[in-house]
């Protein structure tokens, strides 16, 4: 059974149907990259996987568990599925250490010393050990995003979702964030990303999913999909982002 199974998911906001019957599998350890134009439903799909949005019909299961905003153990579920946003969403009133340790301290009942060690460990994995006592606003965008990733890692998630995490960054800062994600991919983390970084999609992902008008238009391994797009929509998309 796949780690994530999405079956015929539909989602509307008011009159607008954003997802029009999406089905997708994500295997354990797989890196799935969702590409497509703005408004194709990429981010909405990601938010549905984490139960931030309720689907109108269809099902999403993660680790065999049916996902919905009303699920009984939503909080435990969210601890296993990390999500990183475009806007970082660090807590501005807390230091980097407290940003990372707040949730583990509250939900995993670990001690203070243990929490500090945990913060050091995950900051090491994003290359920011020296920023443990800094305030978010003292960091660059790229550093803030790496802290946001570290904050997720501290929960030891089984699945990580990335929603255009480099889109708000200055071009010279994109690389450092992508490198962290590449490292995570190498270590076997299951990841679903929405991104406009075609280089990353090409080199790191196992599977590319091209979404168009609320549907999975094409999917497959990157080498095949980029070299030989079957649909004119994907062909024109690839040309436009080259």
């Amino acid at each position: 059974m796949a780690l994530v199974e999405i079956r015929d998911v539909r989602k509307s906001f008011g009159q607008v149907e954003v997802l029009k019957g999406v089905s997708l599998d994500v295997e354990e350890g797989e890196i799935v990259t969702i590409i497509g134009r703005s408004g194709s439903g990429k981010s909405t799909l990601l938010r549905c996987i984490n139960a931030l949005e309720t689907v109108n019909s269809g099902t999403i299961t993660v680790e065999g568990q049916r996902v919905s905003t009303g699920m009984a153990n939503l909080r435990q579920f969210r601890q296993r599925v990390g999500i990183v946003f475009q806007a970082f969403n660090l807590f501005p009133h807390l230091t980097v250490e407290k940003n990372i340790t707040l949730a583990p301290l509250l939900t995993k009942k670990i001690g203070k010393g243990e929490a500090r060690a945990l913060a050091q460990d995950v900051l090491g994995r994003v290359g920011l050990t020296d920023k443990i006592d800094a305030w978010p606003e003292q960091l660059s965008g790229g550093q803030q995003q790496r802290v946001a990733i570290a904050r997720c890692l501290a929960m030891a998630p089984h699945l990580m979702l990335f929603d255009e995490v480099t889109s708000a960054l200055d071009p010279e800062l994109v690389g450092e964030v992508l490198k962290v994600m590449e490292d995570m991919a190498r270590q076997g983390m299951t990841m679903v990303l929405v991104t406009h970084e075609m280089g990353f999609a090409r080199n790191v992902a196992n599977k590319i999913v091209f979404m168009h008008q609320g549907k999975v238009w094409e999917e497959g391994p990157p080498e095949k999909l980029f070299a030989d797009p079957r649909t004119p929509e994907l062909r024109s998309f690839i040309n436009s982002v080259k």
């Binding site: 909080r75 579920f77 969403n89 807590f91 501005p92 009133h93 707040l102 305030w135 929960m155």
Partner: protein, 216 residues
């Protein structure tokens, strides 16, 4: 008629304790109520939001004097409840505080980006944990200047209690003024005492703001 003497000054300072007591009462009961109103006003449930909005609107729409009259004269008539003046006046100031602080804090809570709630939720925190550790502290910082501003209003507003005969600072001033026939001197002193009470509060708020801004 007698001249203004030390005794009059002592009577003013003595009455000051009732002013302070009124403020403390209003805060002790009004602040928790305000927090309740602020959270209800920003709740997910429409009925709660509506109810809190109505309560806040009602309290803010009635003059403080009206609240004082209602509880001082109204409680015995409508509720057949004989209560000491301090209780009647205390209830009025408690509601006044709850209505205004509740609205100020509601604004503070809403000024924190919704994405902050979401970030907390995505880490598996409960709604209460999100409020207690993420939203509340940020809202508090944002609400601090208007909160202290209201506190100063409250301190000065307690002078209205003199109208229903409650002997706090302003009423003691009236008494001393009538006895000495020196209203200018007496009321200047009363004003100076109010000022002395409010100034440190404003200064404290400023230093607190600077400190909180530094720690960001």
């Amino acid at each position: 008629m007698r001249s203004f003497s030390l005794i009059d000054l002592v009577s003013l300072v003595y009455a000051l304790q009732w002013t302070v007591l009124l403020v403390l009462l209003a805060l002790a009961f009004g602040a928790p109520l305000a927090l309740l109103l602020a959270t209800a006003r920003t709740s997910r449930f429409a009925a709660l939001r509506w109810l809190a909005a109505a309560v806040i609107q009602l309290i803010q729409g009635v003059p403080l004097l009206g609240l004082l009259f209602f509880f001082y004269f109204g409680m015995p008539v409508f509720l057949d409840l004989q209560v000491p003046a301090l209780v009647a006046v205390g209830v009025a100031y408690t509601l006044y505080t709850a209505g205004f602080l509740g609205d100020i804090w509601r604004g503070g809570i809403q000024a924190v980006k919704p994405a902050q709630w979401e970030a907390g939720a995505c880490l598996g925190l409960s709604a209460w944990q999100q409020f207690r550790h993420i939203i509340g502290p940020q809202a508090l910082r944002l609400s601090l200047p208007p909160t202290v501003g209201f506190l100063v209003q409250l301190i000065k507003g307690t002078s209205l209690a003199s109208i229903v005969g409650f002997v706090e600072l302003a009423r003691a001033g009236q008494v001393a003024s009538a006895a000495t026939f020196q209203p200018l001197l007496t009321y200047s002193l009363v004003a100076a005492i109010y000022f002395a009470l409010c100034l440190p509060l404003t200064l404290w708020s400023r230093s607190l703001e600077a400190r909180l801004n530094g720690a960001r």
